[in-house]
Symmetry: C2
Subunit: 402 residues, 2 copies
Amino acid sequence: MSLIVKKFGGSSVANAERVFNVANRVIEDYKKGNDIVVVVSAQGDTTDDLIEKALEINPDGCSKRELDMLLSAGEQISISLLAMAIEKLGYPAVSLLGWQAGFKTDSNYSAARIKSVDPERIRAELDKKNIVVVAGFQGTNKFDDITTLGRGGSDTSAVAIAAAMNADLCQIYTDVDGVYTADPRIVKNAQKMNEISYEEMLELATLGAQVLNNRSVEMAKKYGIELEVLSSLEKKPGTIVKEYVSMEKMLIKGVAKDNNVSRISVVGLEDVPGVAFKLFNMLAAKKINIDIILQSVGRDGTKDITFTVPKDQRATTIDIINNAKQSLKFIDVFFDDNVSKISIVGAGMETHPGVAAKMFEALFDSDVNIQMISTSEIKISVLIDINDSEKAVNAVHSKFID
Amino acid sequence: MSLIVKKFGGSSVANAERVFNVANRVIEDYKKGNDIVVVVSAQGDTTDDLIEKALEINPDGCSKRELDMLLSAGEQISISLLAMAIEKLGYPAVSLLGWQAGFKTDSNYSAARIKSVDPERIRAELDKKNIVVVAGFQGTNKFDDITTLGRGGSDTSAVAIAAAMNADLCQIYTDVDGVYTADPRIVKNAQKMNEISYEEMLELATLGAQVLNNRSVEMAKKYGIELEVLSSLEKKPGTIVKEYVSMEKMLIKGVAKDNNVSRISVVGLEDVPGVAFKLFNMLAAKKINIDIILQSVGRDGTKDITFTVPKDQRATTIDIINNAKQSLKFIDVFFDDNVSKISIVGAGMETHPGVAAKMFEALFDSDVNIQMISTSEIKISVLIDINDSEKAVNAVHSKFID
């Protein structure tokens, strides 16, 4: 008998038919004698509908405390419906809200972090042989006010329960049937992986593979929870995300493309110590997510710094920099939204020289110009023109994986 | 400075425009320096929409625990939207769910009774000068599970808060602008009352005046909370419901009509002691609400018992009686759905002889036949043909009030 935590997203419970599909998937494993905790998100477009209601009241943005109160009603609806469906099929179920399931968070409304999960109530319900349906995405803070974990937070809810209860497996059901070596919509030879390490998954998630929420992978890694990414519709094994064990031969695990990136160049900065620190410290204070950074060699007493940010932070970043023109002392600042980041990910890369060269060769052969390069122990990323992105992903995938 | 509890129903917060209307009404009294607690129901048809979702999952009826979990999401949406609207207008507000506002109930899901209200959190928010918006209709039981008070329960929520906090006034905002001497849609000379006692209001509510939920009036009476029934749209004083003080002259407070009634006759019962007890004890065990009872004088060793029940309990009642034919020993049972109960209500009635005669005279003058009569200290009811009901209400109203 195992304890299995399962997470289903909003599209998996979008209507009564799909709710029953989820109920059946859950019951299947329950009938085998397993203890089952199911975490669900709000139905289909519920969250968007609720946000719409809030915007009608205040288009300028409501208080986040009240927004969290509003949005958390979405999961309340989906958990009760799923519990009803399980009961209708003849099996015992009980739904629990975030606070009932013991989720304690900080008070960062709309993007709260889980501080602890007290699984006492969940355990009591499992002992009564109930299938326990838990509202993802939500908890309460020290004031007993409702908080939400931010979009995609239901993955994190599932992993947090799995960690707190030392579950045997945490299954994340999605629209896709696993983690692929590249986006199957772009690369026709993309292959599904049976296994991938936390680190590789983290790099792929960061790079826009959008299969798993990043925070959930970080938490799974921290507590050693084995994740399985699998299809909510087809019944077949998915991809297991687990501890990196050892790696005889270097293996490129995937090629990812991220178009949600803008390149910003600050030109003509004084070539003195502390300039980069001053710039990035200022941006960090405003919570700007910096990715690739490139600094030119100083010449004529000035230097240029180029870096990338998510597209939706580009305008803010430019404002921050322009407002600091006096203290930063630079000549001009430019940006380019028409860029794409292509990355290869694979544990063991650092012990295999020539990987970067092989990637650059693939791009050169396809006539793709590289604007920036960034490397880590298990990742190599390049910034290229957005119009070349699909061509580049296919070229790199062919070189390493096909 | 007073503490005022205000309650707004679902139609009062049905859309963004109406939510702002409520926000403005609330702010008006807040600006005068009062502490304000607002209790709201779910928006317009939200409850019906949620019930529809549940029926899609299980047309045979879901578990009531899960139904309460589902339905309570309705108020969660409306309280957060109202708090957002108040904030948008520049005033501080905080929304609280039933459990956050300290509502403890029994475990009778879907029709729970309030056991206690711990107003600690509400008081703390008032101390911070917040307008406190509380979800009506809901609480939690001793298992920390969500319960609902049943339809109309938001009135009770408001009165319970007023009682727990010793509020100066509890205002119930409705579609009508107060309590009338008769239904203004039927009797064109119906007059709005400035004041009415709890007892009179209870009789009127029972009689189908449908202005206030009965449980809320009972609770207000028990704790001596002054209620005001007033319009959510028009700004004018409503009707105050309060302790019956003293009554110099007899005053008929209202004429009510109730068409939700069926007459049942059990014919040819043995004329021996204990027959009526056996019959009504059996019906009470099945929770049938008996109203007027009439027993014929025994003749030929048999007697007949006639009584009224709500229309939706008529079929069950007939079944119960037929199933007990052996033990009850009667000849036949009949029913009539085409009846209406007309009542006059007024404290002090018992000390003024001739009131009943005056009522019967009005009916006689209008050629209305009386089928049954029932009297209490502050009420006289008659059962008549349903086709005569409007004529009868007008005739009686003219006689006593016009």
